[in-house]
């Protein structure tokens, strides 16, 4: 007689497979079609790398390259700034004991996650217009830093929570000054969290379309806004090539952050 397995429900595996199919089918199809030799996006005309060549040398390539460069610069800077701010905040929230306004600060850090994206976009546009910032990379950067802070904070704070403060106490007991205790003990132990925080903020910045589209002003494009503009005129094969390249970058980043997260866990006692 077959043992009754209480963990199994008939059909759950099938639904999981369906879920995976729905998640991957669109990306797979676009990746495959990005290698289509035909200019038509409907028919298959054989394998070719033409559209990848087009991305780097074609008539639209300068526009996309500039947009990609902007995206990259903004994502790196926003990621770095948000990580610095979030690290400092995490130290205060997890090491400074109780202080006045702690709960309010916690709510403030998470505020960008709670306010709907389109509301943040509208509010930012109104604010930047009111103070006379008429768009450009600087404006986009400020907006990105703001909404990246909670994303950077999450893994850093989680990591910090798993580092007991007895390590720093042990360091001070062994004649380390507070600065040495931070630099030699807390910082290295927090590093995996800080790195994940940066990666997360970086990807979130790279991902953003809506807020960027509101505050960017005329003439400045990031990769998502440039792609959106192009898609409005119809999906062309070069867009599929760009999409496939970005898909590749995302997969590399996720794998990287996963590996780092794992090595961070392995180091835990």
């Amino acid at each position: 007689m077959k043992q009754l397995d209480l963990r199994r429900f008939p059909g759950f595996f099938a639904i999981t497979l369906l879920c995976v199919v729905v998640l991957y089918a669109p990306l797979m199809v676009v990746s495959v079609y990005s290698f289509n030799a035909s200019t038509s996006i409907t028919n298959w005309g054989g394998f070719s790398l033409d559209w990848y060549v087009d991305v780097f040398t074609g008539p639209e390539s300068p526009k996309f390259q500039r947009a990609a460069m902007n995206s990259l610069i903004i994502a790196v800077l926003a990621g770095l700034c948000a990580t610095l701010i979030a690290t400092s905040a995490a130290v205060a929230m997890h090491r400074a004991g109780r202080f006045k306004g702690k709960t309010a600060t916690f709510a403030l850090i998470n505020l960008p996650l709670m306010v709907p994206e389109v509301v943040t976009a509208v509010a930012s546009l109104i604010f930047f217009t009111a103070i006379g910032f008429s768009g450009g990379i600087g404006t986009i950067l400020l907006a990105h830093i703001t909404f990246c802070i909670p994303f950077a904070y999450l893994p850093i704070a989680a990591r910090m929570q798993s580092v007991p403060d007895s390590y720093e106490q042990a360091a001070m007991d062994l004649y380390a000054t507070p600065w040495e205790a931070f630099r030699l003990i807390l910082l290295p132990l927090m590093m995996p969290g800080i790195f994940s925080g940066f990666l997360l903020a970086f990807i979130i910045s790279l991902d953003d379309f809506l807020i960027t589209n509101f505050v960017k002003g005329a003439g400045v494009e990031t990769l998502p806004t440039a792609i959106f503009g192009a898609v409005k005129q119809g999906i062309k094969p070069n867009i599929m090539a760009i999409s496939t390249l970005m898909l590749g970058v995302s997969v590399v980043f996720v794998t990287l952050s996963w590996l780092i997260g794992r090595s961070g866990q392995a180091k835990k006692p």
Partner: protein, 306 residues
């Protein structure tokens, strides 16, 4: 035990009193670039519109009036309720709700299946389900559009196989928007439910089976109530961003699927150009979201106390 002194003063003394210095950047950045803008937006919703964008600094309830009341073409008729925008909001709530249910129906079995694998397969499955989330949202939505277009691969395949004899006509429908939202936010449903199921004590299932409950009875009477916090968290995490979503309705939906996000965007980027009205719509959206979050937070604290 003994290391934890009463009163919770166990944290090291190093950073005591430095909290405000360490938090200053956070306060300044989020305060100046989010809190102040939202306050300014609230103010704008009570100002008079300037044609071609911007505002005139003169108090006015015109934006809210326009949202809720219909005073006829020339504004001189007795006010009736204006249904246009309420309908858009209602449709958005409806769409986001259906997308949430879709996520739950697919996400719960998926989360359950993953959480009941052994430790190594669990990480693999989790990675499989979360990787698409890290792909740019715009690209995912565009890919979905490409796949389900009338001339797209999905219809081509179904036509070729003879299952259908004309395209499904999925694109520009409400279903397409729900599919897009599902695709955008599914991991938000799977992850909290997964976390709840992982903590679930299977001795409870054994006890239920011992007391003559069948598989599905156990699911209904024991498992679902126990993992409910995870399910509710997942639903909120999907519903809230779906409500204000812009890309999925804009790219996948037609005119009949017009949602809040597009309505607001139109006031600032499009031809309509009515900033106070856009600000008012954004305020109403934010109020709805805050009410949902508040009710959720309340139920959480009540649960924690119980």
């Amino acid at each position: 035990m003994a290391a934890m002194a009463p009163g919770g003063a166990s944290s090291s003394e190093i950073y005591k009193g430095n909290a405000s210095r360490l938090l200053l950047p956070t306060w300044v950045v989020i305060g100046v670039f989010l809190l102040v803008p939202v306050a300014l937006m609230a103010t704008y919703s009570f100002l008079t519109k300037e044609f071609r964008g911007g505002v005139i600094w003169e108090f006015s309830l015109a934006a809210y009036d326009q949202f809720f009341l219909d005073r006829g073409l020339f504004g001189d008729e007795p006010p009736k309720i204006e249904w246009t925008y309420i309908t858009i909001f209602w449709r958005s709530i409806w769409q986001a709700g259906l997308a949430t249910i879709l996520c739950l129906l697919i996400g719960f079995p998926t989360a359950w299946f993953i959480a009941t694998r052994d430790a190594r397969m669990r990480t693999v499955w989790l990675l499989v389900v979360t990787v698409p989330y890290w792909v740019n949202l715009l690209i995912r939505t565009v890919s979905m559009k490409f796949l389900i277009r009338d001339e797209g691969p999905l219809n081509a395949m179904l036509l070729w196989s003879g299952l259908i004899d004309q395209p499904l006509g999925l694109i520009n429908t409400n279903l397409a928007v729900q599919l897009g939202l599902f695709y955008s936010y599914l991991p938000f449903m799977v992850l909290p439910i997964y976390a709840a199921v992982e903590r679930y004590d299977f001795a409870l299932s054994e006890a239920a089976a011992d007391l003559y409950a069948g598989r599905w009875t156990t699911l209904r009477l024991v498992i679902l109530p126990v993992v409910k916090p995870g399910i509710i968290a997942g639903c909120i995490l999907v519903f809230v961003p779906s409500l204000g979503a812009f890309l999925a309705p804009d790219l996948l939906g037609g005119a009949k699927s017009f949602m809040i996000g597009s309505l607001i965007e139109e006031q600032f980027k499009g031809a309509a150009g009515n900033w106070p009205f856009g600000a008012a719509a954004a305020m109403i959206l934010m109020t709805i979201v805050m009410i949902v979050l508040l009710v959720y937070a309340r139920s959480q604290t009540r649960e924690a106390k119980a």
